[in-house]
């Protein structure tokens, strides 16, 4: 990519330590540590939309919170237009990256009308002159397809879809360059999801927004994103252009995720390759590749050596963290033998 990235994650890592009780200290029990993110790096160029998918507990939301500055990363940094963004940011820097949360029922203040909530943001960030604040709030509602009357009601009077549009309007109030949407439609009814997805698509075009969309639902990401990063246990295991990733996934986890996603169009999937087992406990990650206990092609090599996220021989854009993503299994590596647990 020759275009300089607007936003870059450089080796982001986040470790959560469990709270220690007096007893833990007295008996010198070791601190339990959860590595939520490990060495996550990617770049996003202006106007692009990047999807981040993975199962629950893979670190997607932690990543979003590190990027917006809600969590301090343990190491690594968030770089915006070549400048490092600390966790504590100047007001002007905070405006650049905004977030829309998953649950539209808990992310709005129940005691403020929608108009008050929007006007507060406009005033604190001094986005427009004070006499223009009320008018701008109505404009924002119109931008997300809501009526100006909505400004006078409380969140409880709105449906989930309307609330999520208010959340988007509030995030857009400070005119951000990057919008992070953390599972924006997973709490909404099926017939309402399309409204929010289409709104995000059209806002991106209209305002030239850069979008980072976090979802567990592959179909949502396929619909909205130019590129997709797949996460497993706090790491990016594969990142590629959307069509490439869906048509020709290189990492066995991506392949499994795609095979497992229910679809209206594939009729019978008895033959589809599916994986057994559950995701491992994040407190107790396996040695080597974190996916190897569930991986259908894992070898003894995978059980000891953690594969780096590498690009293939022919293209530099797509990367996968699997020893065998680009190369066939070497003869001296033997397939892993497994217990009954993982064969189902």
């Amino acid at each position: 990519m020759t275009v300089p990235p607007i936003l870059e994650a450089r080796g982001l890592a986040k470790v959560f330590s469990s709270r220690r009780s007096v007893g833990d200290v007295i008996f010198r029990r070791p601190t339990e540590e959860l590595q939520a993110l490990e060495n996550v790096s990617f770049q996003v160029v202006r106007g692009e939309s990047l999807g981040i998918v993975g199962e629950s507990g893979c670190g997607k939301s932690t990543l979003a919170r590190c990027l917006v500055g809600l969590y301090p990363p343990t190491s690594g940094k968030t770089v915006y237009e070549g400048r490092e963004f600390e966790t504590k940011r100047a007001l002007s820097d905070r405006k650049k990256i905004q977030i829309v949360f998953q649950d539209p029922y808990s992310s709005l203040n129940a005691r403020m009308t929608i108009g008050q909530a929007l006007r507060e943001v406009l005033r604190v960030h001094r986005v427009v002159a004070s006499e223009r604040v009320a008018a701008r709030a109505v404009e924002l509602l119109a931008l997300v397809g809501l009526d100006s009357q909505i400004a006078n009601v409380y969140p409880r009077q709105l449906s989930g879809g309307q609330r999520q549009r208010v959340n988007i309007a509030r995030a857009l109030a400070v005119e951000p360059e990057v919008l992070i949407a953390d599972e924006p439609v997973s709490a909404l009814d099926v017939s309402i999801q399309a409204i929010v997805l289409n709104l995000l698509a059209s806002l991106r075009e209209q305002l030239g927004l850069t979008l980072i969309l976090i979802a567990h639902d592959l179909s949502v990401v396929r619909y909205l994103c130019d590129r997709v990063a797949v996460m497993y246990m706090g790491r990016i295991v594969e990142i590629a252009a959307t069509e490439e990733l869906f048509e020709d996934p290189r990492h066995p986890y991506t392949q499994a995720l795609l095979a497992a996603a229910p679809s209206l169009e594939r009729k019978s999937r008895e033959d589809a390759r599916s994986i057994g087992g559950d995701p491992p406990s994040p407190f107790d990650l396996p040695e080597g590749c974190p996916f190897h206990p569930r991986c259908p092609v894992a070898t003894d090599h995978c059980a000891t050596v953690r594969p780096p996220l590498e690009s293939g021989p022919s293209d530099s854009v797509r990367r996968a963290a699997c020893h065998y993503a680009w190369a066939p299994v070497a003869a001296h590596h033997k397939p892993l033998t497994r217990g009954e647990e993982n064969l189902r």
Binding site: V190, S191, A194, L218, R222, Y223, L264, E265, R269, R344
Partner: protein, 331 residues
Amino acid sequence: MTAPVLQVRDLQVRMSSPRGVVHAVRGVSFDVEAGHTHGIVGESGSGKTTLLRAILGLLPGNATAGGTISVSGRSIPLAGGRSKAVDGVSIVFQEPMTALNPVVRVGLQISEAPRFKLGLGRRAARDRALELMRQVGIPDPGRRFDAYPHELSGGLSQRVLIAIALSAEPKIILCDEPTTALDVTVQDQILKLFRRISEETGVAIVYVTHDLAVVAQTCRTVSVMYAGQFLESGTMEAVFGRPRHPYTLGLLGAVPDVSRGRTPLVAIPGSPPDLVRTGEGCPFLPRCSYALDECAHGVFSLRDLNHHQSTACIRSDSLSGAAPVAEAEAS
């Protein structure tokens, strides 16, 4: 054709609430045969859970019900209040973590029905529980028998719930969004398990969900529920391939699909209806783009189009025949 295990005829459920009478189920009829899986798709508030509770015999005390439900030819009492759960019907809930008793070992929870309902001895009930655990694919059942629910992952807890559902040798298993709380790869395992169970044991499954793709994967027949009634019913291929109701057509065009690229999504305007609503006419009318003046009057119940499909829409002939799915397959 065998006699249906479950037969629901003109089921009506009303519940009193501070806002007025909620008419949660409005004249629902359907049959499920042994070994078949019937899907019920609907959005939140469409009455799907109330329908399941009625079949289970566990309507809340403020509910009144009309119509008939029969299980294996015997009709079951519909009265609200503290009725007893119906023999031969069991249920798998959405939240596996909260549906299990947290202070009882899972093995004992599975052996409860064999012991107290089927009258097996302690040893025999334990053996039966271990066998059920093996059947639902719980690895190392001997060790897991003594585990507490918090020691199990979401997928394993859901398998335990399925084992409990199977333990009383039911004719019908009701599933209320059993995979919504699970990860995609685990959901896939559970869906395959349901398919295997219905093939092996011949149990009938009623599968309720909001996820169209999950229904497409698991069910042979499907009903689309909206505002307490069925708007369309039929075989999976017919209903999703050639939908004959604007709501089904709308739903299919409103959800993104992994196998589809960027076919534009078309949202259904308006919002789901209020179940306190009274009055006649088609419940979907305010959101329908095919509506005529006639749609505001009369009762809209299912009528058969052929033996694969029935619809509640009077304009079913004028719906453009091909659904998005069918188009994508043709291209």
